[in-house]
Amino acid sequence: MSVTTDPVALNQWIPCAWNGQIRPGATRDTQILGQPIRVTCAPDGAISCNVLDGAAGAVGRALPVTQKFEIIFATLGSDPRPLPKIHEFDEPGRRIANCGSVGVNTSPFRIVENFLDMAHFCFVHTDILGAVDQTEVLSYKCEVRPDADEVWATDCRFFQPAASKSAATNGKGQLTHYKYRVMSPFSVMLYKNVFGREDLDDAICVFIQPKTETECIAYMTMALVDEGSTMTQIIDFQQSIFLQDRIILENQRPALLSFAPNAEIPTKADLSSIAFRRWLKASGITFGTVKEAA
């Protein structure tokens, strides 16, 4: 596809590499919103980003870049929506896990909706995030928070046989408490209570790089409380979960998200997804969605 003209999509910070992905002195060619770009890591570690123009890929204008949450972001817009505040990443004692990124061939919004969905836990993450004999999604609350312009789902609870690497090691299930937060059209996170603790939440984020409307790269970063697991074990756990989702995501049809009320039939458990679609539609974004006939 050619670069999008959608102003809402253009005015977002888009992930284009994770910290450490590009060695000093090396570059990474990729795409954001249909625009080929080159991310460069200078010998001193400084990061820059340029668009690549035309079929020959000539190095063109420089793009604004910023680094946060173990990710390098760039924007094609002149007035990007600010990156969210996630204070857990600045909290002393947190383990910051950079799980790298995984390619997913679907719309960015399918990835967000899958992340919000609890009903699939039992079937896609069987015996880990859900058990087949406890499939009910208990009722939860959902709202758009006008101050931050974010979608939040709260009071979410789900029985999980192995809610995290820490829980899996300890071999006991728990009723996990969740909060979900859509931070921008292309980023979503959840808070889930640390295994065995009601007063502390792990923060787990997905930032999405839409290369095109239906080709994405998902970046996973986390700020966890887990003193027992190695970083390799923590990353392995999260990647295993995400790769289970990936199979489902790439088989959803259509890949683009539809705003038409009769296109897909939601249930009560999809409250957060309904709120997300309404919020998304109200933003005026069309990138990554089914274009409705006028």
Partner: protein, 167 residues
């Protein structure tokens, strides 16, 4: 002495070994390797364990082995007293080895396609996909013929390491 497996959960090759260990009822100690994003399998420490910089690696009783196909053949040879998984009958043995080597040869194009799509490896994806489709066609045709003959497994009348290698 405990069997030790240098392992990455998402690796199809490591999965073959875990599956074989499971079918043989063998306990083992997994040593998780940060294949991605850490590229731990290319570090000097890991190259000491496997100079090819590849997973899986199995250690058993002082022996260290690399290559999923070699490992599952070793495990079947040593631990499967029934001889079912690695048949000694000359015809069956020959066919099993043919499909095991197909799994480590032509069929690896499918793994390359996954590495490209999921982890961004810089492969020629069109060529890799075409090779993977060609390999799957050969396997599919064989399985179709077997099904017509009323057979279930790639070779013989029971599962062998050929089925594990091609899974």
């Amino acid at each position: 002495m405990v069997i030790r497996l240098y392992d990455y959960t998402l690796s199809g090759s490591c999965y073959k070994v875990r599956l074989m260990l499971g079918f043989l009822g063998l306990g083992y100690q997994a040593v998780p390797v940060d294949f991605y994003p850490g590229r731990e399998h290319k570090t000097l420490d890991f190259l000491d364990i496997n100079p090819l910089g590849q997973l899986p690696v199995l250690e058993d009783d002082g022996l260290r082995l690399r290559d999923a196909q070699a490992i599952i053949a070793y495990l079947a040879n040593k631990y499967d007293n029934s001889g079912q998984w690695l048949p000694r009958d000359p015809d069956l043995f020959g066919q099993v080895m043919m499909w095991v080597l197909f799994a480590s040869g032509e069929l690896m194009a499918a793994s390359a396609a996954r590495l490209h799509d999921a982890l961004g490896y810089p492969f020629d994806i069109a060529a890799v996909r075409a090779n993977a489709h060609a390999a799957f066609r050969v396997l599919d045709d064989h399985l179709a013929e077997r099904a017509i003959e009323g057979k279930t497994w790639i070779v013989g009348d029971s599962p062998t390491i050929a089925d594990i290698a091609c899974c």
